[in-house]
């Protein structure tokens, strides 16, 4: 059977959270195999854990100081793995900025059909079918490669299940692709220790705050509600622009797309570009003092009122029910 290659991102030497899901998706498309970029001599332990997640083979690109180069080591590793694997049914990567760009460059290099931000992949008689969403979930599009190897980035949280554990046998790659023509990473400012809160992309419940919160200090109210519910925290662009929270919390057209079970919009008007990032949530709740806010057009339950009285009462009621 042909290999379905998965580019595995490593965080502190361990496979990133998306890995199990990617290998589960790969198992639908071929023989799941992992591709990793590591410092020489450090592949052993990772390979073992990748085997447990379903990788029969682990293609290892040992590249010195790879984490000081942007994207190019991963492209070279994927290219070498495609060559070593012989027959490849698909290449799967996570939809992070880094992995998606590595996949895009790989597609050019090997002549592959690049399909971005898939929410589902299946193997059928006509080939591999990829499901994507357009305009923030307003349309669902199903497509397949017309030629070349499918190179697919998969949105986190879209495929359920796991692949059966496999050998995780190491196959050292000969990396010949040029990794030097790239940008250098001179410093990392990333929060690597896992936060107490679930991640925005995959959370079951998301509580988002908007300009209605009024200040960074008062935005804490949104965080308190999120913590009472065990939810992730999101925000509107106006809240991000005003500095109430970090940019990677922005939900919408130019931010993250979320589709949780429950989305609570606090002090958010519901501009069309915000709705583009959350309208596929199963249940939508809105709290806003302006009854004419467009957010109420998509809300399953809306409260017209002052968030500074409604939210504290809600937090108390939630806590009371939980205890």
């Amino acid at each position: 059977m042909a290999y379905a290659l998965v580019l595995v991102e490593l965080a502190n030497g361990r496979p990133a959270a998306s890995t199990g899901e990617l290998l589960a998706a790969a198992a639908r498309l071929g023989e799941p195999a992992a591709v990793i970029v590591v410092e020489p001599g450090t592949a052993g332990e990772v390979a073992e854990s990748l085997g447990a997640l379903g990788a029969g083979t682990v293609f290892v690109a040992s590249i010195e100081n790879a984490d000081t180069l942007l994207v190019t080591p991963q492209v070279a590793a994927l290219q070498a793995a495609v060559l070593a694997a012989g027959e490849v049914s698909a290449v799967l990567v996570g939809n992070s900025i880094d992995s998606r760009e590595a996949a895009a460059r790989l597609a050019v290099r090997i002549g592959g059909a690049f399909q971005s931000d898939a929410v589902d992949v299946t193997a059928g008689a006509a080939g591999i079918l990829v499901t994507q969403q357009a305009f923030g979930g307003s349309f669902t599009v199903t497509a397949r490669a017309a030629k070349g190897t499918p190179v697919i980035s998969l949105r986190q949280g879209s495929v359920d299940g796991t692949a059966p554990a496999a050998a995780g046998a190491i196959h050292e790659l000969e990396v010949t692709g040029d990794t030097a023509v790239g940008a250098q990473v001179t410093a990392r400012h990333e929060q690597t220790q896992a936060s107490e809160r679930p991640s925005l992309q995959t959370a079951d419940i998301v509580v988002s705050g908007g300009r209605g919160l009024g200040s960074r200090e008062k935005f804490v109210l949104v965080e308190e509600l999120a913590d009472a519910l065990g939810a992730a925290v999101g925000a509107s662009r106006a809240a991000v622009d005003a500095g109430y929270c970090e940019h990677n919390m922005q939900v919408g057209q130019t931010g993250v797309t979320v589709s949780p079970n429950l989305y609570i919009a606090v002090g958010i008007s519901g501009a069309i570009q915000h709705r583009a990032g959350m309208q596929s949530a199963k249940t939508i709740v809105a709290i806003n003092k302006d009854a004419d806010s467009p957010i109420f057009d998509v809300a399953d339950f809306g409260v017209v009122g002052d968030l500074f009285t409604v939210v504290p009462q809600l937090i108390e009621a939630v806590k009371a029910r939980k205890s």
């Binding site: 349309f139 990333e190 409260v303």
Partner: protein
């Protein structure tokens, strides 16, 4: 320094955006505008030009004849000249094909710096900048929220899902910017008048040297099998706070088994 800035004409995000069920492509019959991220890309290019005397900014777009308006907007902001890639044979191009056409147009220009938006608001594929860097053999510094360019190098902060990275590369390089990069300036009357006289070169398949059997929807790398619109949401229960709305909301969540 020769700077190219890439812009795209997209359906206005304020409007009702659709995929045409017959062509299975983005419906372009509604209002079309220069993508907001590209107004910011042009601003970034103009700031680099202002910091590096003797620089020239070329606006590049690929799109139907209407896309000329996006170029004019960028010229009115202060860019110096334009390249419009336009050919019926390019209609329906995917990211791979678009990057090939852009690479063909940019290669002979010998640009030292190419600036793009991080992702368009219609496609959101966020792949063309990386593909273009690959095709042109350039260092890519994508998703930058800050950008500084001097004679021999580019530095900036690259957004990631967990924070940001400081990155650098020597020129020539390709940069993509995020919406934090800068607020775009408004074209003034003088700029708008001057834009009408600035030179815009039109390039078709022949000028690009692209074979016709590789371009356009028929030669796309992927085939769309199906397009389905999501059913519209119907409005729900709206209550006006009478002092108990917070409790009512908790009741609703409990009844729906959400807490």
């Amino acid at each position: 320094m020769k700077i190219a800035v890439l812009v795209k004409e997209v359906p206005d995000t304020w409007g009702d955006r659709r995929i045409d069920p017959s062509t299975k492509r983005v419906d372009r019959k509604g209002d079309l505008v220069i993508d907001e991220i590209n107004e910011k890309s042009v601003e970034a290019a103009l700031l680099v030009k202002e910091a590096n005397a003797g620089s020239e900014v070329t606006v590049v777009t690929m799109g139907p004849s209407s896309a000329l308006a996006a170029i004019r907007k960028a010229l009115a902001m202060g860019a110096d000249n334009g390249i419009h890639i336009v050919d019926d044979g390019l209609v329906g191009s995917d990211a791979m094909q678009t990057s090939a056409a852009l690479a063909a147009a940019l290669r002979p220009g010998g640009f030292e710096l190419i600036i793009t938006g991080n992702e368009s608001t219609d496609g959101r594929t966020a792949a063309v900048p990386a593909m273009l860097a690959e095709r042109l053999g350039l260092a890519q510094l994508t998703f930058l929220r800050t950008l500084s360019v001097t004679g021999d190098g580019v530095t900036g902060e690259r957004m990631t899902d967990e924070g940001h990275l400081d990155v650098r590369a020597s020129l020539p390089a390709l940069v993509s910017v995020t919406e934090q990069i800068a607020e775009a300036r408004f074209p003034n009357f003088r700029g708008i008048m001057a834009a009408k006289k600035k030179k815009v070169e039109s390039l078709g398949l022949a000028g690009l040297g692209l074979p016709a059997d590789e371009t356009g929807a028929e030669n796309s790398w992927s085939v769309v099998e199906d397009v389905a619109p999501r059913p519209a949401r119907s409005g729900g229960t709206i209550v006006k706070d009478d002092g108990t709305a917070g409790t009512q909301l908790a009741d609703f969540l409990a009844a729906a088994k959400l807490i």
